[in-house]
């Protein structure tokens, strides 16, 4: 059974089904969308169970020729990292769809179709092993997200969504150039198009140094914009502020991970020499992102912007861990990707909960909220501390492994990054204090009786994320054994590379 194809395209089938449903039957549309997402989720669990972590290489391979003239294939396969990210995607998708039931009342049909197509793109990115196919999925993701922000977003949604799309598009088009350049180089060297887009063929092919430098640069820009790394991050706060809640959850939870995944899967293994060459610069940018994101988060007046800048800081750990080229650091980076998806996803859900009731996210207007909504306060506090890297919860393990691994190869980088522990506690706890503690604010008194505590549906969206945060905090081995193969392979590829002498610039 071609399980990967099934997982990837079940959401598409659901989207097509919804397209034929009558516009008026909102309940049915929601049920089909949620049902599709849940079926996809269950299928991905089968994938997780069926995957054998001990074996090297890719599993569940599917290979069909697509454009034989250029050796382009429909090739799917997974390793531990892909499996983890696929399951993260399917989990967050059903949670997001469930969380959209309340807030999205307008054009529900189109919204659900967009969401399911978005899921196709995201899963496709993680399972594609053909570079051309990967590129297609990478771009597929853009369209529904463009619509989700542009149609169901806030007041300034058009500016935000166009910025998001153009910014990402610039990166991905450059990546397309990079993909084509490597394919041409492969064809030139082997005399055949066979395998020119095949990841397993290209990996370890050993491209020429100059080509590597430029191709890596193109890939780097595409992924750095996605992550987003400093200084390519400014689309993120705008997009988050305007996106509807579920859009923010997916944006932070999965879309940012496309960048980290791209680095680990493609940019580093294909162009190891160039990766070694650029690594010092990328580490510096990561450190800036970590510290700078945290400091800027400190002064954000808007809840969502604060979480967005905290994402910049947290994702800095991912790029730092990847480009340290050290086992523990990479393990930490991968854990950080998963944990950031769970924790920041939950934080955006939580911000959405209160926004739906008050239609305001300005921190200064709040105060004493725990008086009115105690359960909500506990849930918020839990994820705040998870985000601050409290040991015992999952965020800590990822961050600490990244730091300890980085320390082993580059102590100064680790020293700088560790200081974010203070800033993270500061921006999170300050925000928490201003929103939840103290006397009930005038603004909240004005809302009065509309202020309802967590509803059962909202609790249902948060509990799975909270449970995973605890489980991965106490037994991180579950994830670590899953991704061990990916880690060993990438470290092997990266350390085989030699930094290219950049003397020719002069």
């Amino acid at each position: 059974m071609p399980i990967l194809t099934l997982i990837t395209f079940v959401p598409l089938a659901g989207a097509i089904l919804i397209a034929f449903l009558p516009r008026g039957s909102v309940g049915l549309v929601r049920a089909v969308a949620l049902g599709t997402a849940l079926v996809t989720f269950v299928l991905s669990l089968f994938l997780l169970v069926g995957f054998l972590p001990g074996r090297p290489g890719f599993q569940f391979l599917e290979e069909v020729d697509w454009i034989p003239a250029f050796g382009i294939q429909y090739k799917l396969g997974v390793d531990g990292l892909s499996v983890a990210l696929v399951v993260l995607t399917t989990t967050l998708t059903w949670i997001s769809i469930l969380a959209s039931f309340g807030p999205i009342k307008d054009r529900v049909k189109e919204y659900m179709i967009s969401f399911l197509i978005l899921e196709v793109g995201m899963i496709g990115v993680f399972v594609a092993l053909d570079l051309f196919l990967f590129y297609i999925f990478f771009e597929v993701v853009l369209v529904p997200m463009y619509l989700i922000i542009g149609i169901w977003g806030g007041a300034n949604r058009i500016y935000a969504t166009i910025k998001f799309v153009i910014y990402t598009l610039v990166g991905s088009l450059l990546m397309l150039v990079g993909i084509l350049a490597t394919a041409f180089a492969f064809q030139a060297a082997t005399g055949s198009w066979n395998g020119a887009f095949d990841y397993e063929q290209l990996r370890g092919f050993g491209f020429d140094g100059t080509l590597q430098l430029f191709a890596f640069g193109a890939f780097f820009l595409a992924f750095a914009i996605k992550v987003p790394m400093f200084p390519f991050h400014t689309w993120l706060p705008d997009a988050h502020v305007e996106a509807p809640t579920a859009g923010s959850v997916i944006l932070a939870g999965i879309l940012l991970k496309l960048g980290g995944y791209g680095f680990i899967r493609f940019a580093v293994p294909l162009f190891a020499d160039a990766a070694q060459t650029w690594a010092p610069l990328i580490i510096v940018l990561s450190l800036i992102a970590i510290i700078y994101g945290a400091i800027v988060a400190l002064v954000q007046p808007d809840l969502k912007k604060l979480v967005a800048y905290s994402s910049v800081s947290h994702m800095g750990f991912v790029t730092l861990g990847v480009f340290a080229f050290q086992e523990q650091a990479l393990q930490g980076a991968i854990l950080q990707m998963i944990n950031h998806g769970l924790i920041t996803g939950a934080l955006f859900l939580l911000v959405g909960v209160i926004y739906e009731r008050t239609h305001d996210r300005t921190i200064a207007k709040y105060g004493g909220l725990s008086e009115r909504t105690p359960v909500y306060a506990v849930a918020f506090g839990f994820f705040i501390f998870a985000s601050a890297g409290l040991p015992g919860l999952s965020g800590f393990v990822g961050e600490f492994l990244t730091l300890v691994g980085t320390f082993a190869v580059n102590p100064w980088a680790a020293v700088v990054a560790t200081f974010v522990m203070i800033a993270a506690a500061a921006y999170l706890l300050w925000m928490f204090q201003r929103v939840f503690f103290g006397e009930v604010s005038e603004f909240l008194k004005g809302i009065g009786h509309h202020l309802e505590d967590l509803r059962p549906v909202e609790t249902l969206t948060l509990v799975p994320l909270g449970a995973l945060v605890v489980v991965f905090g106490l037994v991180p081995g579950l994830l670590l054994t899953l991704v061990q193969g990916t880690v060993t392979a990438m470290i092997g590829d990266a350390t085989a590379g030699n930094a290219i002498n950049l003397a020719f610039w002069r």
Binding site: Y292, E327, P391, V397, L401, A414, M421, V475, L480
Partner: protein, 648 residues
């Protein structure tokens, strides 16, 4: 017996989980499960402690380890959840579980009218779990986990009355200031692993000698940074006084008797690492003794009864660090234990006082309470005598030992400052007793009429804490430097002391030791007498009037020291300027930079592109000739550049 050890932290965490889930529905019965869990943990601890201290199997002299599960299996980096129990752990278990249990019982009465009753007990249980994990863990990273968890509990409990802005601010301050020290501790852990490839405390200590001395010094300094944060030593001492915003049982348990000792415990536990870095030990001494005198000087003028005790805690913790720095490890742990009991007693007593005068904490509106609340008065007086260092009460033995060892190990300046601080301690403690219990009541009349002794559930813990405050010094610390405690801890600190070439010598009653002892007692008596002269006394057979006008004259004659003490040497103002104002400016500037420079560039590029598009529109003339020309030029440029590149 070893199999029972995991139960010690497991019981309170189970209590926490149950109370957190169903406590809200239990009302006043919510305290039953948490209190029983802690009593059971105490009983098991005592059995374990007895087995450890009598060297029963499997503990023997070196202690024993029980592994639970592998927490982080990341290739070469692996961390197990495992507990190690030896005599040092046992000493801490005695303090943590005994005081923890008594504070739980006391809280049944103290918190009985609070709407957050169940929440309070849930937090207390979570704290007990975290603190027990801290003393039982055999791995630096697990210690760090517990380290952060006690910080979380501290945050939750300081901010327990979160509606009060000052409480919310104090909670946040405590957590963030602690994080500053934690950065050091975390970096220390990274350095250890990168050098030795293990984080098991026993293995690290065994192999620390392999490392370069600069690296060892760095490790010791970084660990000490963590200790400075958690134990509130200068310059990170600013969070502890504010932490008094929490309910008083919390101040007693967390901010006096247990959590703040974590730093002392950590430095003692890694004593062998510090012994390899003698210059870092001097830093430890200096920070400790400086904090001791700084805090004592502030305690002179504070009027909030809990704040006086908080500064006193800082000062006594400073003593412990000074002891660790001069190599008097056993004395440090000894003082940790005695201080835990008498300071726990003093805080719980102050809670009883605050309850009696209807939530008043300002001593200027107290006075004469001895007649109305005799049990609280008697027990607090015992605590005050104990901390002042009057023999044969607990504090005398431990404090004298620290001073004597400083002197004999060649740290004369430490001894001299320590002696001065001892006198200051005696003074401010009897100032507190005098202002609170003696003389006439200075608060509103209607409150005086309603002042009453606390219920038995609160006074019995006071009495139970007064007993060790009276006798524990004599019981485990006598004869000096040869008591039971010294026998228990000697094997633990043997290696460190050997590295420092500290010989154990005979105690000379009629020699140097006797002389030092007389000096210690004399300075304590002087401190007390001055306090009694200024703030009055009402002991049986000893009566004296308070002289507020003399106090005022004295303050006026020493304006600068008085203002400095009253304003806590302006540390809060300095940090506010550095971190809140200047730091805030930097953050605001960076955000401006982000919007205007970084994002401005992005938008600028966007605008440029649209403008360029508008300009380039003219190129699209629709005439084929023009396009052909363009193609031709393009081809020539491409061919040319190919020739140039290929020709190189």
């Amino acid at each position: 017996m070893l199999e029972l050890v995991p139960l010690i932290p497991a019981l309170p965490i189970a209590g926490f989980a149950i109370t957190a889930l169903i406590g809200r529905r239990l009302g006043k019965r919510a305290s039953v499960i948490p209190v029983l869990a802690v009593i059971a943990a105490w009983a098991i601890s005592m059995a374990v402690v007895y087995a450890v201290l009598t060297h029963q199997e499997p503990f023997g002299e070196a202690g024993a380890t029980i592994a639970l599960w592998q927490w982080i299996p990341a290739g070469a980096f692996h961390v197990d959840i495992a507990f190690h129990v030896d005599a040092l752990t046992a000493a801490l278990l005695i303090v943590v579980t005994t005081i923890g249990m008594l504070v739980h019982i006391y809280s049944i009465g103290y918190m009985s009218h609070d709407p957050g009753y169940w929440r309070f007990f849930a937090y207390l249980n979570l704290f007990m779990f975290s603190m027990l994990l801290l003393v039982l863990a055999d791995n630096f990273l697990v210690v760090f986990v517990a380290w952060e968890l006690v910080g979380l509990c501290s945050y939750l409990l300081i901010g327990f009355w979160y509606r009060r802005r000052s409480a919310a601010l104090a909670a946040k301050k405590a957590f963030i200031v602690n994080r500053v020290g934690d950065v050091g501790f975390a970096l220390g852990i990274m350095l250890i692993w990168s050098q030795l490839g293990t984080l098991n405390i026993g293995e690290v200590i065994e192999r620390i000698g392999e490392l370069d001395s600069v690296v060892v010094s760095l490790i010791a300094l970084l660990i000490f940074a963590g200790a400075v944060g958690k134990s509130a030593q200068f310059p990170l001492h600013v969070w502890l006084p504010d932490a008094m915003e929490g309910p008083t049982p919390v101040s007693a348990l967390i901010h006096a008797a247990t959590m703040v000792n974590a730093g002392v415990y950590l430095v003692a536990r890694t004593g062998a690492i510090f012994a390899h870095a003698p210059e870092v030990m001097v830093v430890v001494v200096a920070v400790g003794i400086f904090t001791a005198i700084l805090a004592a000087s502030i305690a002179f003028t504070q009027t909030d009864i809990k704040r006086v005790l908080a500064y006193s805690t800082l000062s006594q913790l400073g003593y412990m660090f000074a002891a660790l720095g001069v190599g008097a490890y056993t004395a440090a742990i000894f003082h940790l234990m005695t201080h835990g009991f008498f300071k726990g007693l003093l805080f719980l007593g102050s809670g009883s006082v605050i309850h009696a005068v209807h939530e008043e904490q300002d001593m200027r509106r107290m006075g004469g309470l001895a007649k109305k609340i005799p049990i609280t008065y008697a027990t607090m007086a015992i605590g005050a005598i104990a901390i002042s260092g009057i023999p044969p009460l607990a504090g005398f033995f431990s404090k004298d030992e620290i001073l004597a060892e400083s002197f004999k190990n060649g740290f004369l300046w430490v001894w001299a400052i320590g002696l001065l601080v001892a006198g200051m301690t005696a003074f401010y403690m009897f100032r507190l007793i005098g202002l609170t219990f003696w003389g006439g009541f200075r608060g509103p009349r209607e409150i005086w009429d309603r002042v009453h002794e606390s219920p038995a559930v609160m006074t019995i813990p006071l009495i139970l804490l007064a007993i060790p405050s009276l006798f524990i010094g004599l019981a485990i610390g006598f004869p000096p430097e040869n008591g039971l405690l010294h026998g228990w801890l000697e094997p633990i600190f043997h290696e460190a002391r050997e590295l420092l070439h500290l010989e154990h010598h005979e105690y000379q009653v009629f020699g140097i030791d006797g002389a030092l002892l007389v000096a210690s007692v004399a300075i304590a008596v002087i401190g007390i007498v001055i306090a009694l002269r200024l703030f009055g006394v009402e002991f049986p057979g000893l009566r004296g009037q308070a002289r507020p006008e003399a106090v005022q004259r004295l303050s006026a004659r020493l304006p600068f020291p008085y203002r400095a003490s009253l304003n806590k040497w302006w540390f809060d103002e300095l940090y506010d300027l550095l971190f809140i104002r200047i730091g805030g400016r930097i953050a605001a500037f960076l955000w401006w930079f982000d919007r205007v420079v970084v994002d401005g560039t992005v938008n600028g590029v966007g605008v440029l592109t649209t403008d360029a598009g508008r300009g380039l529109r003219r190129v699209q003339t629709g005439r084929v000739q023009n396009y052909a020309l363009g193609i031709a030029i393009g081809l020539i440029v491409m061919a040319g550049s190919y020739l140039v590149i290929a020709g190189r």
